[in-house]
C-alpha cells in the first residue's frame, strides 16, 4: 500500500483555497479531481483505508449483528450557529447507527458539489466533518465526489453511510415499545431547527441559539451498558419529536400519552416558535434521542442519561399506552388533551 505522502503528484500548483471555486473539472475524473481528492479529502480524512485508493475500501469484520444506515444531508445555510453541513453529515448518520445500540465502525461519504462553491468553504466543511468523525472515532473509509452545474445544486450535499456492530445482548427496535413503557427524551427539543431557521437572513432574527448537532454514540454506549434491555431508541430529526413518536407508535401498534409540562424546551426556542407560528414538537433536532424502556429500568436509564453531558436535561416525557389507533396524545400543561399528529406538509412560518 502506498501512502498519500510519498506518492508523486502530477500537479505542482496546490489548490487555491483562498479564492478558488469548485469548477466542473473537479468532478470529471481528470487530474483536477484527483488533486481535489488528494489535497482535500485524503488530507482531512487521512486513514489507511482511504489510502488503499481503490474503488472500494476493505476492512475485516469479526462477524455478528451489524447495522447500516444512510442519510443525505441538504441544508441552507451550509454554516449555521453550532455547526455546519460537515459535522452534521457525520452526526446524522452516526446517530442512526447508534440508535440500534450499535458501536459505529466505518463511514462512507458522497459529495455533490455545486459549481461555484468556494473551495475555502468546502475545506471548512470537510475539516469539520473530519473532526466530527475523529472524536467518535470513526474513519471515513471511502467516498465519491460529483460536481453539478451552478443552479443544479445548492453548494454541497453530503450523503454518508455508516456501518456498526451491535453488542450481543442488545435488541433495540421500534416495534418493542409496549404499553406501560416509559418514554424518555435526552434534552431540550427544537434547538437545531430553530437555530437554522433563525440563521436565514430574510427573517431578520438574532439569537444566541445554537444547533444541538452532536454524535450520540457515547451517550448511547453508556445507556446500553446501564440498561441493555432498552426497547427503543430513535433520534427525533426531521418532523421533530412528533414524527419520531408517531413512527414508534405506528411500528409498535401502541399509543402514547405525553405530558407537556415535562418536555424540556428552551425559552428562546419557545419564543422563536411564538414568532413563527411553529410548534416545537415538529422542529428538527440533531443531537437528541428518544428512548423507550420498561418501567423498572426507567430510573436507572434516566440517571445514566442525566450523568452524561449530552443527556443532562433528560426527562421522562410520557408513557406507552395501548391504542389500536396508535394515537400519540398529549396532556397539556393547561389540563386538556390533544393528539400530537404527524406534521402535515411543511412547517411554514405563518401569520394566522
Amino acid at each position: 500500500m502506498q501512502s498519500s505522502a510519498n506518492k508523486k503528484h502530477a500537479y505542482t500548483r496546490t489548490l487555491d483555497f483562498k479564492t478558488g471555486c469548485v469548477e466542473m473539472m473537479h468532478g470529471s475524473g481528470g487530474r483536477a479531481m484527483a488533486q481535489l481528492i488528494d489535497q482535500l479529502f485524503m488530507t482531512a480524512f487521512d486513514n489507511d483505508f482511504l489510502r488503499q485508493m481503490n474503488d472500494q475500501a476493505s476492512f475485516t469484520s469479526s462477524g455478528g449483528r451489524m447495522v447500516m444506515a444512510t442519510d443525505s444531508h441538504v441544508i441552507t445555510p451550509l454554516f449555521f450557529p453550532g455547526g455546519d453541513i460537515g459535522c452534521l453529515s457525520v452526526h446524522g448518520t452516526i446517530n442512526d447507527v447508534v440508535m440500534a445500540g450499535a458501536k459505529p465502525l466505518y463511514l462512507s461519504a458522497g459529495f455533490i458539489l455545486e459549481e461555484g462553491l468556494p473551495l475555502g468553504d468546502l475545506k471548512r466543511i470537510v475539516e469539520s466533518m473530519a473532526a466530527a468523525a475523529r472524536v467518535i472515532p470513526v474513519p471515513i473509509i471511502t467516498g465519491d465526489t460529483k460536481v453539478v452545474e451552478r443552479g443544479s445544486g445548492d453548494g454541497v450535499f453530503i450523503t454518508t453511510t455508516g456501518i456498526g456492530m451491535i453488542p450481543e445482548n442488545v435488541f433495540i427496535s421500534s416495534e418493542r415499545a409496549k404499553p406501560g413503557d416509559n418514554i424518555l427524551i435526552s434534552g431540550t427539543i427544537g434547538d437545531h431547527g430553530i437555530a437554522v431557521m433563525l440563521a436565514r437572513e430574510d427573517f431578520a432574527f438574532q439569537s444566541s441559539l445554537e444547533s444541538d448537532t452532536a454524535s450520540l454514540h457515547d451517550l448511547v454506549s453508556v445507556m446500553v451498558e446501564a440498561v441493555p434491555g432498552i426497547h427503543v431508541l430513535r433520534d427525533p430529526t426531521r418532523g421533530g419529536v412528533a414524527a419520531a413518536l408517531n413512527e414508534i407508535a405506528q411500528q409498535s401498534g401502541t399509543g402514547m400519552m405525553l405530558f407537556e409540562e415535562r418536555i424540556p424546551v428552551k425559552p428562546a426556542v419557545s419564543a422563536a416558535c411564538e414568532f413563527l407560528g411553529f410548534d416545537p414538537m415538529y422542529v428538527a433536532n440533531e443531537g437528541k434521542l428518544i428512548a423507550v424502556c420498561a418501567p423498572e429500568d426507567t430510573d436507572k436509564l434516566l440517571d445514566t442519561m442525566r450523568a452524561h453531558p449530552l443527556g443532562c436535561n433528560a426527562a421522562v416525557i410520557g408513557e406507552i399506552i395501548a391504542d389500536s389507533h396508535s394515537f400519540v396524545q398529549m396532556k397539556t400543561r393547561f389540563g386538556g388533551t390533544h393528539v400530537v399528529d404527524w406534521l402535515s406538509g411543511d412547517q411554514l412560518p405563518r401569520i394566522c
Binding site: 432574527f205 400519552m257 428562546a268 411564538e274 414568532f275 399506552i321 389540563g335 394566522c352
Partner: protein
C-alpha cells in the same frame, strides 16, 4: 387568526424600525403602525409590525383578577380523564 405576540422594544433602528426581544430572541420589526413607543415598552407584534402597545398595568390587573378568583374559589371538578395517566 392573526398570530401576534407581545415583545419588548429594545432599541430603535433605521426607517421607523426597532429591535424587539422575547426570551432572548431578537427581531427587527416595523413601528410604522404605532405612536409614542419607547424602549422598554411592550408591543404586540403581527407579521413583522407592532400593531398596538401592550398595557403592562392592565396585564397585571388581569392576572391579579385571575389570582383573586383562585383565592376565592374553593373546590372545582377534576380534570376529565383521558389515556392511562
Amino acid at each position: 387568526m392573526c398570530l401576534a405576540i407581545p415583545a419588548k422594544v429594545e432599541q430603535f433602528t433605521a426607517d421607523d424600525n426597532a429591535i424587539v426581544e422575547l426570551s432572548g430572541i431578537r427581531k427587527e420589526i416595523s413601528l410604522a403602525l404605532v405612536d409614542e413607543v419607547s424602549p422598554g415598552d411592550y408591543v404586540i407584534v403581527h407579521a413583522g409590525y407592532a400593531i398596538q402597545k401592550l398595557d403592562v398595568e392592565e396585564a397585571e390587573r388581569t392576572l391579579a383578577l385571575f389570582e383573586e378568583l383562585y383565592a376565592q374559589t374553593g373546590n372545582f371538578p377534576d380534570f376529565p380523564q383521558t389515556g392511562t395517566t
